[in-house]
Amino acid sequence: MHIYTLSFLLVFLPVSALIYYAVPPHYRVFTLFLVSLYFYASISPLGLLVMLASVGADYLMAKPLFLWGKRDRRATALLLLAAAKNILLFVVLSSWSQLRDTEMPIGVVVYAFTSLGYLVDLYNGEADLAASFYEYGLFCCFFGKLYVGPILAYSDFSRQLREFRPSLTRVGGGVVLLLHGLAKKVILADALEVLTRQLREIPYLDKTVLSVWLLIICSIFQIYYTLSGYSDMARGIGGIFGLELPENFHYPLQAESVTDFFSRFNISANRFVRKYVYGALGAEDNGPLATTLNIMLITMLMGLWYGIRLNYLVWGASLGVFIVAETIWGDRFFTKVPVLVRRCYTLVVIIVSFAWYSSLSLSQGLFYLQTMFGLRTWELLRGLGGGGTYAMLWSGESLYLLSQNWLLLAACVLGGTNILHGNAQRLQHRFPRAMEGVSLLVNTLLFIGSLAFLVA
């Protein structure tokens, strides 16, 4: 059972919500923690044990860290131990899943780094001790956010629990977000997955400039709609249970610079790395060289956030180069360029950089890059039994796939911008009553559409 399945949507979620609101307020956090554990157990019983062991160990380390404080060397040692444990857990599970060619257990990066962030805050005296294990467990393992976050700060989470007031308005908002996220995942991302696979399956020697551009663009859309779909569902599920989770993706594909893209794409992960790594390294306070190194380090870490793979590292580094350039020369040159040009530049850089993210090895990434620009080397093709130094611009197969999926791609382009949302907000101000009806209709259609795609 996953959050995008019928069993979750029709049974697990409503039953959990009814139980949650039916129990006395004092037991709600405990109830939600149990529900989260049951949800995880239904996906991976073994993964549940790993999660409980990891979060349990961090909980045990929290109290000494809090009591000893930052100045105590024992606290520093304990924090380093906790950091090593959580990072190792992520590295080992990510590598293990790659070696076994299986999917990584869900939520490892979320609960490990949520927990680590809390311990660092405790060490720095920026957080209070968790009231109970189940409250701490819920903070790390709330089932809605396990897929892609957002990563929360404990102070925000505990404040919400303290100030919790059940509200049908908030639940309603949660339902709307859930439906938006579900539609992104099952209508767009799943269809894009099929299209991306078809494009990937075109034999190497038949890959053309158009087919590789299309492949990379579809990969970007697929990643974006999957992650932002999960993120919206997480916020929606949070809303249904009275929790307010922050936005994690804010139209990254219409960013005006690569730096802007990073601040819109997986926002909470970016904040985490900025706060706990970039900030700790001195950010931009130690001169251009240190700034360059710090930026490269955090962009590479952001790449590794998605898995321990060399390609992700190179993806992060390739974007890091542009962020460094924007940081150093941005004020002088970049701000003078028209917005449209800035957006085009950003989009091209993002698409080209995703050649690394979307490929399975560095050589494949290089091949994609060369083909995107119409170049192929003899060295690469020699091993594949072909010849020729230039890739063809297009082939019948890529044109066929394009013609078969134009509506999907058009919907993805439209959904990747805030054109719809922005105009809807403007109309909401002018015609509030009419827009209520439109909103209800759209959400009903999204619900029906999602159900249809789930059974198709």
Partner: protein, 375 residues
């Protein structure tokens, strides 16, 4: 939404979810009870069981699936589940498994069987609709090169067997209705085109169409392909029968493992009435079909093939005293071993390219005649 409506919305949503689940349970209460029982015993599989149950019993399931297909068609996608919507009919795409050992094994075993027999051997590889009807498919669609494969395979049989050019026979046929619109098979018209190509090779003259009385026995026929497609927008098929005007009487033995039926016509209406409409031709697909036509010249033909044989066998009946058709996909090794190609004047291996490339059934030719060899 206003405050009041925002408050009503989640309650309405909850009521809709509850209504959907109640409707699903009402549709199959026994299935729901089974899910609960199994979920109680094995909580970890409850989610999977529930998912399957809801997927199968969701209210308006077929309408929702139709809606998705309609939306995909609207978005330019005329290919669904490997089937193209081409005009008013369906054409399955020929996808070929990457496992080349399958068709290499088929070629090897058929060659070996042909070399062992003293009877004249023939090979006919029949292209599928997506090769012959390319003009009806979307532009630029990538297709498997069926003509190229057939030509390269035929080269391996030079000197061992006579090959039958089914590709050109179908491509240049006068008929427009060679393949069923809703089934992955040749129509009787397609069968007639193959019969003409076969006649030139097997050593007799094909009868002109004027010597047959055409009767359209089954209307509004929807085949298996239609069910795979899962959405309307397709015209039903008509099954035509071609009866010899000279009044030649053939007897058909339609052998199934536990039943065998004898018909005194090539087109038994009772078979269609008792089973599928398509069973009107020779009583339908079977592991073994034997056609005997008294008074014909004393030659006999063993046909080793697949479902496509139903299209051309009725035309061949008038030229042989005995025709035995074997479908290896429906026979066991010992059943195949009981047949010796040497008992027949001619042996025809005739497979659709789909069967030849994607299954190992043709390779079972290696079993032929094993029983008599052992004796």
């Amino acid at each position: 939404m206003s405050g009041k409506k925002k408050r009503v919305f989640p309650l309405g949503f909850l009521a809709v979810l509850a209504a959907i689940v109640i409707a699903a349970v009402a549709k199959d209460p026994a299935g729901a009870a089974r899910v609960v029982r199994q979920g109680w015993d094995h909580p970890t599989v409850l989610g999977e069981q529930l998912e399957v149950f809801l997927g199968q019993n969701l209210p308006f399931r077929e309408e929702l699936r139709g809606m998705v297909l309609r939306l995909r068609l609207l978005g330019g996608s005329s290919e669904q589940n490997g089937v193209f919507l081409a005009g008013d009919g369906l054409i399955p795409n020929l996808t070929v498994t990457g496992d080349t050992t399958l068709h290499r094994g088929n070629t090897r075993q058929i060659l070996a069987a042909m070399e062992e027999t003293s009877s004249s051997a023939y090979l006919m590889l029949i292209p599928t609709a997506c090769a012959i009807r390319q003009d009806r498919l979307p532009d630029h669609v990538p297709l498997y090169n069926q003509r190229g494969y057939i030509e390269s395979t035929y080269k391996q049989f030079y000197g061992t067997a006579s090959t039958v050019d089914a590709y050109n026979a179908l491509l240049y046929s006068d008929s427009d209705y060679l393949y069923y619109r809703t089934e992955d098979n040749l129509t009787s018209q397609g069968g007639y085109a193959l019969y003409q190509a076969l006649a030139a090779r097997l050593g007799f003259t094909a009868r002109p169409l004027s010597q047959f009385e055409v009767s359209y026995d089954v209307h509004d026929y929807y085949g298996d392909l239609y069910r795979r497609w899962g959405y309307g927008g397709v015209r039903p098929d008509v099954i035509a029968t071609y009866r010899d005007t000279r009044g030649t009487a053939s007897q058909v033995l339609n052998w199934q493992r536990f039943t065998q039926r004898t018909y005194y016509t090539l087109y038994p209406r009772e078979a269609a009435a008792a089973g599928e409409p398509a069973d009107i031709i020779l009583g339908g697909q079977a592991p073994r079909i034997e056609i005997t036509t008294p008074g014909r010249r004393s030659s006999s033909l063993l046909v080793l093939g697949d479902r496509t044989a139903l299209s051309y066998l009725p035309f061949l009946a008038g030229h042989y005293q005995k025709i035995t058709f074997l479908d290896f996909s429906l026979l066991t090794a010992s059943e195949i071993a009981a047949f010796d190609p040497d008992d027949y004047t001619q042996v025809l291996f005739a497979y659709s390219l789909d069967t030849y490339l994607n299954t190992e059934h043709p390779a079972k030719a290696g079993e032929l005649g094993r029983s008599s060899a052992a004796e």
